[in-house]
Symmetry: C2
Subunit: 163 residues, 2 copies
DNA sequence: CAGATCGTTCAGTATTGACTGAAATCTCCG
DNA sequence: CGGAGATTTCAGTCAATACTGAACGATCTG
């Protein structure tokens, strides 16, 4: 790994860590985004990241269950190969947008907790809840629309390439 | 504080902590959203949250500089009063949307780091960068539009109330 | 000016949690 | 069936950090 690549991997580590995952998860995903061979074994990754195999194992499970990485096997090869599929990006975005839902849910429970108060006392939290409700609806809509549009562009390009 | 209120405060604490602030910052902001008296002294807050004054002091600075809370003083009263202004909500949203910018910036630096690679090797990260570029532009736009619309509705309501 | 109250600072404490590395488990080949 | 290569598990270590509480400084009152 060049210093620049190493810095990228480390930044992805800190970033995904700030989103609730572990630093190692970010490093691993980042590495799978930039490594020359898109499919890497656990040993490859451990060597590249200077990490223990145990750490890779646990992190691989975390990333695989959340859909960010894909595990594949090859006939006549006991090893597992990890790669970063394109869908991982969509999942990451949906996950990030999920914080708006969390915020609204918390506000909702808070409103229940102070249900007996007069409206002017609940106004602050009510507004918080309303704004989150909007964002929770609209942001995923915008993202989904873009992803749909992008996938149709892809199809068109592939058709053009074939023709 | 009732159990329900306490739970709300605690959930806000964990939530803002996951966004990079401290749990105490979330608890304090949450409390200022639901307390009966919108303006609270540091002593009031410390008592409500069972926290030390030192903790409140540091947290108040953090929240005030980020604009989430407002500090006010009254003539003939040495104490400072804290409250949660409506703009805090906007700032929180902008802050949350900032993660998209962070992601694109990291991807950009990563692309620089592997600038010498062939395009097919950079494709994964390039796509990551492009998608983030879109989200970084559009999500804040949608949020800003909504906030603007909401503020004009407010003005209309206030005028109606006066009339 | 003395006294009291409020705010800030900072060293210390305790907790959390990510990572390591060795032992255990599994799978497939010869 | 034995064994090599691979993965998983888990107890232990280590670092990061949020919070406490006492000491200090500042500001207003009587």
């Amino acid at each position: 790994m060049t210093p620049g690549e190493s810095q990228f991997v480390e930044e992805m580590g800190q970033f995904l860590a700030s989103l609730g995952m572990t630093p190692m998860a970010g490093r691993m995903w980042g590495w799978l985004l930039i490594c020359e061979q898109p499919e890497q074994t656990a040993t490859d990754i451990a060597a590249a990241l200077h990490a223990s195999r145990g750490s890779i194992s646990g992190t691989a499970r975390l990333l695989a269950t959340s859909g960010l990485i894909r595990r594949t096997t090859k006939p006549g090869d006991r090893r597992e190969y990890f790669s970063a599929p394109p869908e991982g990006l969509d999942l990451l975005l949906n996950n990030a947008a999920g914080i708006y839902h969390q915020m609204r849910a918390i506000a909702m429970r808070g409103l229940d907790a102070i249900a007996d108060r007069p409206p002017e006392s609940r106004a602050r939290l009510q507004e918080f809840h309303d704004v989150m409700g909007f964002v929770e609806r609209e942001v995923p809509r915008v993202i989904a629309e873009y992803l749909r549009q992008r996938s149709t562009e892809r199809s068109a390009e592939r058709s053009k390439g074939k023709a």
